[in-house]
């Protein structure tokens, strides 16, 4: 089927501009291979120049073929389509290259689901310590702010009840009460915020033996409901944009504390500050008693 392609359509303009681009690139490679080599950052050696000249000749031929094509509509269409398809393929592959590299580098949260009542987060780590020690450390809830960055304090009110205080935005803090709803020693600990709490949350920490004397596997499952208004914003700030990332880092610090007795401290903990000693030690060191 013949399809008439009007002059001046986008396809033709693309083909024409590609033709001129090929001629320009070809001439540059042919006549000034040294400058081209420097432009694209390759060595300016005799062999590179020879290679670039060869590329240049090929580009010139391509460009001439594109521009010198007879104005037969069908022919132009097929040629232009081929050229633009090739160009699109090259650009597409390049973009795909970058995209797939990025995708490969993304770390997916173990689980982060929006549920009807809020956000569900699941994270896990292995601690090279006996399960009894890991459980006992976590069960003493006052220890939690030692590795959970956004917690200010946890106060044990009685055996089952505790009061939690977390840092909010701009120096504020939010507080809520929680109850331990299930406790199986060295196996699992479940909590739930009390009715009327401004921050509704519940979760379970499960403890188990890692195989082959690898210590303790620990899994945190947490669900929370961000309330509306300023507290909601506070909570969003509390867990960051990606709560699973926050909990992931908290668990890494927990592991450090139990395995090494301290939390590793960077000189440049974020990209905002260079890795160099600080003039004054910011913040108090958070060290908890750990038997090693």
């Amino acid at each position: 089927m013949h399809r008439y392609q009007r002059p001046g359509t986008s396809v033709e303009r693309l083909a024409t501009s590609l033709g001129y681009f090929s001629i320009g690139l070809g001439l540059a490679e042919l006549l000034a291979p040294g400058a081209m080599a420097r432009l694209i950052g390759i060595d300016d050696g005799s062999q590179q120049r020879r290679t670039l000249r060869a590329f240049g000749a090929r580009e010139l031929a391509n460009g001439a073929a594109i521009l010198g094509a007879p104005q037969d509509a069908n022919w132009l269409w097929s040629r232009a389509a081929r050229v633009s398809a090739a160009a699109a393929a090259v650009a597409g592959v390049a973009a795909l290259d970058l995209y797939s590299a990025r995708q490969l580098q993304q770390r997916r949260a173990l689980s982060r689901r929006e549920t009807r009542s809020g956000v569900l987060v699941e994270e896990t780590t292995t601690v090279n310590r006996p399960v009894e020690q890991v459980y006992a450390f976590w069960r003493r809830l006052e220890n939690l702010p030692g590795f959970m960055r956004h917690l200010e304090s946890v106060e044990q009110l009685d055996d089952r009840h505790s009061r939690w205080r977390a840092k909010g935005p701009a120096g504020t803090s939010v507080s809520w009460d929680a109850e331990i709803v299930e406790e199986r020693e060295n196996e699992a600990l479940s909590w739930c915020s009390l009715e009327g709490s401004r921050v509704r949350n519940r979760g379970t920490v499960a403890f188990g033996h890692a195989p082959g004397a690898r210590g303790t596997e620990l899994r945190v499952t947490m669900e929370y409901a961000p309330p509306a208004g300023s507290i909601g914003r506070g909570l969003a700030w509390l867990f960051g944009e990606e709560p699973s990332q926050q909990i992931h880092e908290d668990l890494h610090r927990f592991k450090q504390l139990l395995e090494t007795g301290e939390i590793s401290r960077s000189d440049g903990p974020s990209l905002r500050r260079p890795a160099r000693p600080r003039g004054t030690v910011a913040g108090k060191p958070r060290l908890a008693e750990v038997r090693r």
Binding site: I40, G41, I42, D43, G45, Q47, Q48, T51, L52, A94, D97, L98, A101, L104, Q105, Q106, R107, T126, N128, R214, G215, Q245, H248, E249, H252, K255, Q256, E259, T260, G261, E262, I263, S264, R265, S266, D267, G268, P269, S270, L271, R272, R273, P274, A275, R276, P277, R278, G279, V281, P285, L287, R292
Partner: protein, 390 residues
């Protein structure tokens, strides 16, 4: 104190920064006497390692005197003379228990950054990007050393700084590269890259019983040092001849039993391959240029081992996986588990079996670090290794 700081591609500056302080009980502070510029520092200098920030203190090869210890460091005292391994390792995690110290699970506080790049995080490293811990480095007058009860090794007074400094990185790195070759009697080993690590890999291959070592580079002075001081049996200048053909010729058509890549992510190659990688790297379509690694894989004897000591950071193209699979090659790599090697290699130095100081070509003051980087990068004045006196 004075410290050599990174300020972007091709820019380092010695400036005044605050003195380090003890932040954790297992920290120690070292007053640095000698420090060195590593080939891998040039990857930072060339802007190829992500998560660097202007002002970062560089340097991961250093030694000196303990001036302060935290309450949790029982085995070191003020005044001890120590060499500090470049990977920071806690000694408590599963990886450390298996002596895989460069994979310590606890020493990288910024592990999440490395996890985004590589899936899991290796250990923290001094002065080597934020994703590897954001630790201030050792091209400075002082450094804070975390887990000082695990890493630093005391060195005797009768050995000079120059003899023991390279226990911090490149001697163990060259040694592990050779050890990874699982050298058997009669084995011929080929080493790509005659920089400091390559030279010490050649030396180590002989220490571990290699029959012959063949060294490959493009700088005649480096090939000369490989022959005269590291003891390479033959050298190949890859700009002058076909490396694979020459290796085949030198090994009776078998190929080297093991190949060591001591080049890493900024390899050069003549011709189209070199241009291909440079274009792809400059367009950010591959992060690393692997011509040496490709060649090592293709040159290796069937069933042999390719040991990668050079640093690679991300992704490469045209990786000859077909040769690895169909010819049953073993690929071994890793940042060096330095803490595993410091004691046995110090013993070898003390016994006089090896003196790694043969690679030093330039000694400068810390103030001259920027000039040292330029000289090392451009191979000026036959530069092979720069030691800085803090």
């Amino acid at each position: 104190m004075k410290a050599n700081c990174w300020h972007g591609t091709g820019r380092v500056r010695v400036e005044d920064v605050p003195d380090p302080t003890i932040l954790n009980p297992r920290d120690a502070i070292v007053r640095i006497t000698s420090t060195a510029i590593c080939g891998s520092d040039l990857h930072l200098y060339n802007g190829l390692i992500p998560t660097m920030r202007s002002g970062d203190v560089l340097g991961h090869e250093f030694m000196g005197e303990i001036v302060e210890v935290g309450g949790g460091v029982g085995n070191l005292s003020v005044g001890d003379r120590v060499v500090v391994p470049f990977p920071i390792a806690c000694g408590n995690c599963l990886q450390c228990e298996r002596e895989l110290f460069s994979l310590c699970e606890n020493s990288n506080p910024n592990a999440w950054m490395a996890e985004k790049m590589w899936g899991y995080s290796p250990s923290g490293i001094f002065g080597y990007s934020h994703m590897l811990g954001g630790y201030a480095g050792g091209q400075a007058q002082y450094a804070r050393v975390p887990f000082a009860d695990v890493g630093p090794i005391k060195v005797p007074e009768n050995l000079t700084d120059e003899q023991v400094l390279f226990l911090s990185d490149i001697f163990p790195t060259g040694y592990m590269a050779a050890e990874n070759c699982n050298i058997q009697p009669g084995d011929v080993i080929a080493v790509w890259g005659c920089g400091p690590v390559g030279q010490l890999a050649i030396k180590s291959a002989y220490l571990l019983g290699a029959e012959r070592v063949i060294a490959i580079d493009r700088f005649p002075y480096r090939l000369r040092i490989a022959r005269e001081r590291a003891g390479a049996a033959e050298t190949i200048n890859y700009e002058e001849c076909d490396v694979r053909e020459t290796l085949r010729d030198l090994t009776g058509g078998r190929g080297p039993d093991a190949c060591i890549d001591a080049v890493g992510m900024e390899g050069h190659a003549p011709g189209v391959w070199g241009a291909y990688d440079k274009v792809k790297q400059s367009m950010m379509l591959e992060s690393d240029r692997p011509p040496a690694l490709r060649q090592a894989i293709l040159a290796c004897r069937s069933g042999g081992t390719v040991s990668v000591a050079g640093v690679y950071g991300g992704f490469v193209d045209k990786f000859p996986i077909g040769a690895i699979v169909n010819r049953a090659l073993t690929l071994k790599s890793g940042q060096t588990h330095v803490q595993r090697y410091t004691r046995p290699l110090l013993d070898r130095i003390q016994k006089g079996e090896v003196d790694p100081s043969f690679i030093i070509t330039h000694t400068m003051s810390l103030d001259e670090a920027p000039a040292g980087y330029e000289m090392f990068l451009n191979k000026e004045d036959e530069c092979l290794k720069v030691v800085l006196k803090a």
